[in-house]
């Protein structure tokens, strides 16, 4: 039984929230008020929210609850004001794995809406910041039941705790001429290959993938995922010189110079008459010229991905930006995908064996250093991984420093002594 009918008679009293009803942007308050007419639980929800607005305070506490066999997928909330709002005593969110690229037919959407309503508060969020479908307002029982129903209808849940998270990808080849690889297929492949890590928290901390078909990064991956996978190409860009000439005729040469030629980050574009010249060897696949001249220019034909590592947002050491780990990898055949899988496993193994509790892989790399990390995952350093080589000459070369004090040669400790004392002492 869901908790929707637990307090049928309460009156809605939301003077502050009401100020969010009007105005041209769609109002969740209006929607929920309307919905509350048939769902008394929502009255309580809005009333508690009104108290939050009044007191600038929050009344949800966490707890842990799991669907049997799962270690993640339910974000459990209990209200501090359960006495007053009994329908909010348990008000959990269930995280449902979304279809890659967030594509739906209405049958699927209706199915989600029905499940959400049948067992919970009937509130959906499309979508959470990690990409998944959020269904709100289940009590303990409702959480189990909705999971059961969802599963029966072909959905799956997961992605909380120290586990892999739902992936997220841009629409890619389904509707974009820029896409350099199949983001949706790859998203499904990784999700399915590692589904157990989405279900059960077995890592030192969370791990996120985000996929974008090209450097425009519509998947918003670089700072928000531990492993962004971004489409790119090798070799020459595709240039249709006829369309270049059309572009110049239409927009003018000055427009081309001001908006394309001078904007190339590596200055590898030049115009000769009505032809555009690309010094492909110096193009960094930034996408800008293609964006501006999307009829005339296209990514090259030999496509693949660049894999980055280490992004995460603010908590603890401040935002970390992912950086290049695999400059180029083909990602077309099943074998390519298997390679990717194996590569991910290698990365995970080293991180999970050596990472500290609650240490994202970016924080881990920050602590041990990229060189050590590469050693650990068995990869050769590549200058494309860096912006520039080191500037400090204080280096401990293993090769050059045979032991001089007798006994064992000391390990190669980091030049800069960066262990933070907090986490380590507790480890």
């Amino acid at each position: 039984m869901s908790n929707e009918d637990s307090s049928p008679g309460m009156a809605l009293k939301t003077p502050l929230l009401n100020e969010l009803e009007s105005g041209p942007w769609p109002s969740f308050v209006k929607d929920l008020k309307e919905y509350s007419k048939k769902r008394p639980q929502i009255v309580q929800l809005l009333n508690q929210l009104e108290e939050s607005y009044e007191n600038k305070w929050n009344y949800w506490l966490g707890k842990i609850i799991n669907v049997p066999g799962y270690g993640g997928g339910v974000i459990a909330r209990v209200s501090e004001k359960a006495d007053k709002y009994p329908a909010l005593a348990n008000f959990h969110t269930v995280r449902v794995i979304e279809p890659p690229g967030w594509v739906y037919n209405t049958a699927a959407l209706r199915n989600l809406a029905d499940s959400a309503e049948r067992h919970g508060a009937g509130i959906l969020q499309l979508h959470g910041m990690s990409g998944d479908i959020l269904l709100l307002g289940f009590d303990d029982n409702g959480s189990m039941n909705v999971a059961e129903d969802l599963m029966n209808d072909g959905w799956d849940i997961g992605g909380s705790g120290a586990a892999m998270r739902t992936l997220q990808c841009c629409v890619g080849q389904a509707r974009c001429e820029m896409a350099c690889f199949d983001t949706m297929k790859t998203t499904k492949f990784i999700t399915d290959s590692f589904i157990e890590f989405l279900h059960r928290p077995e890592f030192v901390y969370k791990f996120k993938f985000k996929l974008s078909g090209c450097g425009n990064d519509c998947g918003n991956s670089i700072v928000r995922s531990d492993m962004p996978i971004i489409g790119t190409w090798r070799g020459p860009m595709q240039v249709n010189q006829e369309k270049v000439a059309e572009f110049i005729d239409e927009k003018g040469l000055e427009y081309l110079i001001d908006n394309v030629i001078t904007r190339c980050p590596t200055r590898c574009l030049s115009v000769r008459g009505k032809e555009l010249k690309v010094e492909d060897s110096e193009c960094v696949r930034c996408m800008h010229c293609i964006n501006v001249m999307n009829k005339a220019l296209k990514p090259g034909k030999d496509r693949g991905v660049t894999i980055l590592v280490g992004g995460h947002r603010t908590l603890k050491i401040g935002d970390t930006m992912s950086s290049v780990l695999v400059p180029f990898m083909k990602l077309e055949t099943d074998e390519d995908l298997e390679n990717l899988k194996e590569f991910i496993e290698r990365v995970w193994e080293f991180w999970n064996d050596n990472g500290m509790d609650h240490e994202r892989i970016g924080e881990f790399i920050h602590r041990v250093g990229m060189a050590t990390f590469l050693d650990g995952i068995g990869m050769e350093p590549d200058p494309r991984m860096i912006l520039r080589p080191r500037t400090s000459p204080y280096i401990k070369f293993e090769e050059l420093a045979p032991t001089r004090f007798g006994g064992e040669q000391t390990q190669n400790p980091k030049v800069w002594n960066r262990e933070s004392e907090g986490p380590e002492t507790a480890d």
């Binding site: 959407l109 509130i123 072909g154 589904i195 425009n216 696949r285």
Partner: protein
């Protein structure tokens, strides 16, 4: 508790192929180019000439099951039942028949009440988080403040009048579950956590000690109980401990403030991705409509629209004109708190004689 013992069925991600609009399925990987027909309306042209129309509309992200059903009704009527959502929680109605566009747009805007727009150089939907509706940590509301901001920015969503896309985001605590943005609103705390020593036994002590990035937490015995204490000088009010342990309350309704950050850019177009930088701090956390936030965002957008060259994102524009002029044009004060004091601080100083005078 349900009787059924549910072993995980490891079903994985839904089979997306069944959800692809027929024109998507047919032209998968074979798109040639696209055009923006008007704000909110795209046409993608396939190599074979097929045209797929997309109508993008602003969604509140949080919606009732009934609202989802309304969306489905529209998609059934106009879109052969196919829709998708975007990275920024907008909805996209997909259709092959251009003649249906006007009807669809009309229905979406009038009946559903969702504005069409958010494409090209417009202000798109604001990436945001749970807030007081569901999370246990928020210092402010997310969906509510976004509603207030977008009410103010509605024309910027419905027209394409900026030099480039403007992506906004807002988070409800210093954990910042939301994305970086060209302009972002975040919460800041101003005190070390208050410890509820009576409740402390529920936590795993080492975890909360270990999580503190400033090594400010140490085990202590308080009133005979095992607990922790916080070295105030070291604590930087990040709230990491609070996420781990509800007995270490970091929020304060009286003193928490909002700040606005600018120049986050995740695309690789032209310039490498950049973090967002502090623009203005100490903004009151003022529900239900946070007018001070909207006013500050408006100042930034106005200056950006006036000053930037085509294709310059907010951060690129500021880099070109210099931060001095950014502060001049927006009127925000530049303070000592704007100066980086992280371990990378030196590299954020102007280490050159390049000065705009």
């Amino acid at each position: 508790m349900s009787e059924k013992a549910m072993a995980p069925r490891d079903q994985g991600a839904p089979d997306y192929t069944q959800y692809l609009h027929p024109l998507m399925a047919k032209n998968y990987g074979k798109w040639d180019y696209h055009e923006r027909l008007r704000p909110g309306v795209l046409v993608h042209v396939a190599e074979n000439g097929d045209k797929l129309y997309t109508v993008r509309a602003g969604s509140p992200r949080t919606m009732s099951a009934d609202t989802v059903r309304k969306v489905c009704d529209i998609a059934d009527k106009y879109c052969e039942g196919f829709v998708r959502f975007t990275t920024r929680a907008n909805i996209e109605f997909l259709l092959g028949d251009a003649s249906q566009l006007d009807g669809l747009i009309n229905t979406v805007e009038k009946d559903l009440g969702w504005p069409v727009g958010g494409t090209g150089p417009s202000v798109s939907n604001i990436a945001h988080t749970q807030g007081w509706l569901h999370c246990n940590l928020p210092g402010t509301d997310a969906a509510g403040s976004v509603k207030a901001m977008m009410d103010d920015l509605i024309e910027e969503f419905k027209t394409e009048s900026f030099p480039n896309r403007v992506h906004l985001s807002t988070s409800c605590c210093q954990i910042n579950c939301a994305s970086h943005g060209d302009i972002s609103v975040i919460v800041q705390h101003h005190h070390p956590p208050r410890i509820n020593h009576d409740n402390m036994q529920i936590c795993e002590l080492p975890k909360v000690v270990a999580i503190c990035p400033a090594a400010a937490i140490r085990p202590a015995v308080v009133n005979g109980n095992e607990s922790v204490e916080v070295v105030q000088e070291k604590c930087m009010y990040c709230g990491a401990c609070h996420g781990q342990c509800p007995s270490m309350e970091i929020r304060d309704a009286q003193t928490d403030t909002l700040s606005i950050w600018v120049g986050g850019k995740m695309s690789n177009a032209r310039s490498a991705p950049t973090f967002m930088k502090l623009a203005v701090w100490g903004i009151p956390n003022n529900p239900p409509r946070w007018p001070e936030v909207s006013a500050a965002i408006r100042r930034i957008l106005t200056a950006y629209k006036e000053g930037a060259k085509d294709w310059e994102r907010v951060g690129e524009w500021i880099e070109r004109i210099g931060w001095q002029r950014f502060f001049e044009k927006t009127g925000f004060p530049f303070t000592k708190y704007h100066i980086d004091d992280s371990p990378e601080a030196l590299s954020n100083l102007n280490r050159s004689a390049m000065v705009r005078l």
